[in-house]
């Protein structure tokens, strides 16, 4: 029985060394992958926020422009023009 315990202790000593080496590689691989992901998320997030701010700002500007300068030049042009043509007030004015 003593012999078996000896074998067991020797085996686990070898196991510990192998496990340390394996775990170091395992951690390094995943850590690098996660770092890459986080760096990429940083860039994607900042560019996304930038574009979003730009889009929102423009839409606000558009709305203001349409409110203050209502006319054929205000965007979006096509639906408005069609709408205006069928608008009862224009029909009344034309009439």
């Amino acid at each position: 029985m003593l012999q078996q315990e000896d074998f067991r202790a020797q085996f686990y000593e070898r196991y510990r060394k192998e496990a340390e080496e394996y775990d170091r590689d395992f951690m390094k691989k995943h850590d690098e992958d996660l770092n890459t992901t986080l760096i990429f998320v940083g860039y994607a997030h900042s560019s996304g926020v930038h574009v979003l701010t730009w889009v929102s700002g423009r839409s606000v500007l558009r709305r203001h422009r349409r409110l203050h300068h209502p006319g054929p030049s205000s965007a979006p042009a096509r639906p408005n023009r069609r709408h205006r043509r069928s608008h009862p007030s224009h029909a009344l004015q034309d009439g």
């Binding site: 202790a9 998320v41 839409s59």
Partner: protein, 476 residues
Amino acid sequence: MDNTTFGGDIPSLPQWTGAPRTTIHVQAMLYASLAASLFSAFLAMLGKQWLNRYALTDMRGTAVERSQDRQRKLGGIIAWYFDHVMESLPLMLQFALLLLGCALSLYLWDINVTVAWVVISVTALGVIFYIFFVIAGTASASCPYQTPWAHILRHIHYHILPAILRLLHSAFRNFVDKSWCLSPFKWGGGWYGWWDWQQTAFTLFKHILFLPFFLACDAYQLIRAMVRAFIALARRVHSWIRSARSAQAHGLNQRAGALDSQCVSWILQTSLEKDIRLPTLKFLAMTPTLVDFTPALLSDCFDILIDCVKVNKYNAVAVQGMEELGEASATCLFLACSHLSIADPMTSILSGIRQRYRRVFPLNLNFSGLQILHMTHEVISTGPGIKAPIEWRGYKPANHEHVVVARAISKLSWSEYQRSGPGPVPSPYLSFALHHLSQAPLPPPLVIINCLLIIAIDLGCNVSKTMIFEERCDHA
């Protein structure tokens, strides 16, 4: 009501003063992209925490307990598909990037078509490249441009699709065999050939007359075949889930014996060095009970055995320099297979290893000087009741290996006695006992006890189970 009703004021309908529809779509896509990238950042952060937790030694104890704790954590990582979850993070980011490209293209299209085309072409180029990488990675496993999608698609192509096609094919064959509409066109089903045109014409006429009835029958048959194929598919998925769950349970078994065997299996799979594999196999051979051993151990031992033994026509020869490793792996394989063939002879693990074994080693093989491999071969090929004579002369294992092999053989003799009643035990077992009892320096006492038990079983004595299965180390 006329133009003067409102006193000159022109009533106007309330107008939508919010952002245009395109802007709303664009913003929705951009917010989705942002959310996806933030979510992947959140998962990445959690992943870092999980990794740190894995690396942390959060318990005090002996080196063995710490190693077992580490193996338990690694088992969890494999059983809970940690690698796959970590691999899916970039997928989410790629999706976020695609959304960003689409939103930008859509938005710029409204402002300036030329600028929009630039963004669209760059996005399309990226998508085309990605699709190319996925296709190339799926088509060839050796292609360096591997993506998670390629793994998924390859799995579907090689495992799931053929199974579904096989099921559909068998369902279709069944349908064609039983189809009434197609019966005149099948040999023996009313088709008498052009030379017997009267008979053929009569059959066809009959067929056309009853066509609606036949069509209804065929529709019923088709639906039945499809339902059966669907049930077979569901059964297969169910059995797959069950096997995956049992494998997970094996991986998460936390009893000390199970953890030992998991550690052994892990080290045999990870290390290719002979200096590590040989002592590991010797430790495995010393393990007193193989009750909790992982099924993966069988294939690990078998893989090592294949590396150490080559087959020259009808002779099995050990590869030079690998004799000891080959013998150790054969001993472990023999112990595990003999244990399984007694404990659970119908297990799928044993049948799986038997199939692999037959593919590598032909049936009538000459094992000169590789007695334990011969024994393994017989146990795997024919089960416990083997008949082939084995020449034990020259078999000189180390003491502890000798003991475990003798114990395994006495167990096999006893199970054979239980199976087929009193009578002579298979000749290899008896020759093992007689040979080792006639050796000039006698083998260790435990070997002698086991040899005597084998002879007792051969003589028809009623040997009790406890005498065979209890650990007799104290008697030594």
